[in-house]
Subunit: 354 residues, 2 copies
DNA sequence: CCGGATTTCTGAATGCATTCAGTCACGGTG
DNA sequence: CACCGTGACTGAATGCATTCAGAAATCCGG
């Protein structure tokens, strides 16, 4: 394998000059530059080795992203994809590559983190207490988190999930609903799903789940409804199928809820399928509110009422935070919006409201 | 900044031992190992520098992916995402990270390629003659292409686009259609879109576009229909909006086509929106066939008839090809399937067929 | 033709860890 | 007691390029 040195020797010039020929051609007489480049081609030199350059300059030219779940799984999440788009949109103009760290499990994530050549890490949706976080800190690189519980000293990007969820609850209350079901996202990495009682949520490791539940609680509380009066089902994964399974159970409780508070659009879309399977018309018999406003939310029939949050912007912001940690506030809170579409309507029979 | 050497000196042991303490703890007496680890912690050592290790071992522990378009754009493509999932599924178990190379434009892609610390590259959907390809070869790393014209000596993964497209055409022919419109994907990176004649496709740089058109041509040829008897519109980007714009024009030609051959599902979904805007019922007034079978194809109403191709599998295969180039055949052709759903039906008035 | 400003080029230190081929000491064996 | 195998540990070469400070050469005006 040819190196800078070989070329320098073959030509009787210094290594510096060869390096300059590639990196700062203006520092060299055109003649020498051409001779160097020609010799390089002749010897089959592949150009300065990027790794050696990194070692010398201390710049990796890349930033890493770590997800709580395995990569193929993370890619199935439209919200994560949009976030990634935002991240890419700021990395690209500054020529930073994006490194997706494999995270088959927590151990794998840790080794990946230890051996990643990156200038900083974006941390997405890690559960509280994850051992991945210490591994990240040990690398001593800039860090920023998104959609997880803020850690003091590390820039965090998120929305006010609690307030968003409260808004959902109030929307349904305003429509006259009084019997609710809640379909929750996972509370931790190893969730098996199933019906749960409100207090078990104290164990939740995922900030989004915890906060949204608290938000529902607060919202429903305004009508005097307590969490143990509502059916709560924890989905065992973030996919539509899990939402369907969850809703199937929730909708077979009696008295049947007239409205479903669902923590994500994917789950909500699954819930709509369940409603259809049970012959319930949405929103006539059942109202459903999602969360996130993923692209599919507007496309399903009926279109989903949901909370919109700016994933793309969030992506841009975390990326910027990692790129320039100094200029970043501790936590950036983005606005959210209730988008009322066709999946919510007046409670079917107000007289029955508990 | 603390290094291996500092610890070795502080403890009066060799660098080798310190290195071993981290990488091969079994080579060391437990006592020494503990002392080293303790001292490392004490001195705030962050662990062996991954870049230095890469330099020494020649392993980057990552593979790069290059797209023809800018990253945020690439992420909007459901097919690319599924492919990525497949790639991730094989990289993850072998602890390889995935490096997304920024490609704001071709020049940016080239610098990114030159400075990426990766063990190999996956090349997705590059147009023919792209200057990115030579840059890739210069790096001298394993390469594999997917969804683009195969390059001799480089493993390629694809489907038989031509045959797939021919199948679409025959399907419509079998339903009695005789007046066709074609909505084509971009022919090159700088396409501005618009109506085109069949022969201009000789200029197409994107293999998928070229092949699919040839396939339509061959299919329609069986009924004696030549390409210049059909309206062809080249979309100016891969998005749904572009499909709608295209279809709006195509459907206003007279005589109006009774069937649309659309080169991708995203464009096809856009075309369905156009049909709706024009008050045409699908499939009663107009049949539409897409290509790719992205998840949305099954979800739109009416569900889209399309060609299914195994993106996930394709991803796995290219990734495997880069990881182990020796064991890889020159070109891997995946099967495709015509999935007949509800967007195609009998021609409205067979008597009018040209 | 001279002094100083430029331009061009070089030396050598530096970044950090891995790894092969041993050395050394110790315990067991005949 | 001599010899050998084994485990523990070390030396030093090696991977490849960047960069600062300064030397050498060239050029300018006067």
């Amino acid at each position: 394998m040819t190196t800078l040195r070989d070329i320098a020797e073959a030509l009787g010039v210094s290594r510096t000059s060869v390096s300059n020929a590639f990196n700062r051609p203006d520092q060299l007489s055109p003649d020498l530059k051409d001779r160097i480049l020609a010799k390089a081609k002749e010897l089959g030199y592949l150009g300065p080795d990027p790794v050696a350059r990194m070692l010398r300059t201390g710049q990796a030219g890349a930033i890493g992203i770590v997800f709580a779940e395995s990569l193929p799984f993370a890619f199935s999440d439209p919200a994560a994809i949009t976030l990634l788009q935002g991240v890419a949109a700021v990395c690209e103009p500054v020529d930073k590559a994006l490194v997706l760290l494999p995270a088959l499990d927590e151990a794998a994530a840790q080794t990946a983190i230890r051996s990643a050549a990156v200038d900083g890490f974006i941390v997405y949706c890690l559960p509280e207490g994850s051992p991945v976080m210490p591994a990240l800190r040990e690398r001593g690189r800039p860090l920023a988190t998104v959609d997880q519980r803020p850690i003091p000293g590390i820039p965090a990007v998120r929305i006010d999930d609690r307030a968003g969820a409260e808004t959902c609850a109030r929307h349904l209350l305003d429509l006259g609903h009084r019997r609710f079901g809640i379909i929750a996202m996972e509370m931790n990495l190893t969730s098996t799903g199933g019906l749960v009682t409100g207090d078990r949520f104290a164990d939740s490791r995922f900030s989004g789940t915890t906060e949204r539940l608290r938000g529902y609680e607060r919202g429903l509380g305004r009508a005097g409804i307590l969490l143990d009066q509502v059916v709560i089902y924890e989905a065992d994964d973030p996919g539509e199928e899990a939402g369907k399974t969850a809703a199937l159970t929730v909708l077979q409780q009696s008295p049947r809820p007239t409205a479903l508070l669902v923590m994500s659009d994917r789950l909500a879309i699954g819930a709509m399928q369940a409603a259809e399977a049970l012959g319930l018309a949405v929103p006539r018999d059942l109202s459903i509110v999602g969360f996130d406003d993923i692209p599919a939310a507007a496309q399903v029939t009926p279109a989903l009422t949901t909370i919109r949050q700016p994933f793309f912007e969030k992506g841009r912001t975390v990326a910027a935070a990692v790129l320039d940690p100094a200029a970043t506030p501790d936590v950036t809170l983005f606005p959210y919006d209730l988008i009322v579409r066709s999946s919510t309507g007046p409670a079917p029979d107000r007289a029955v409201g508990s």
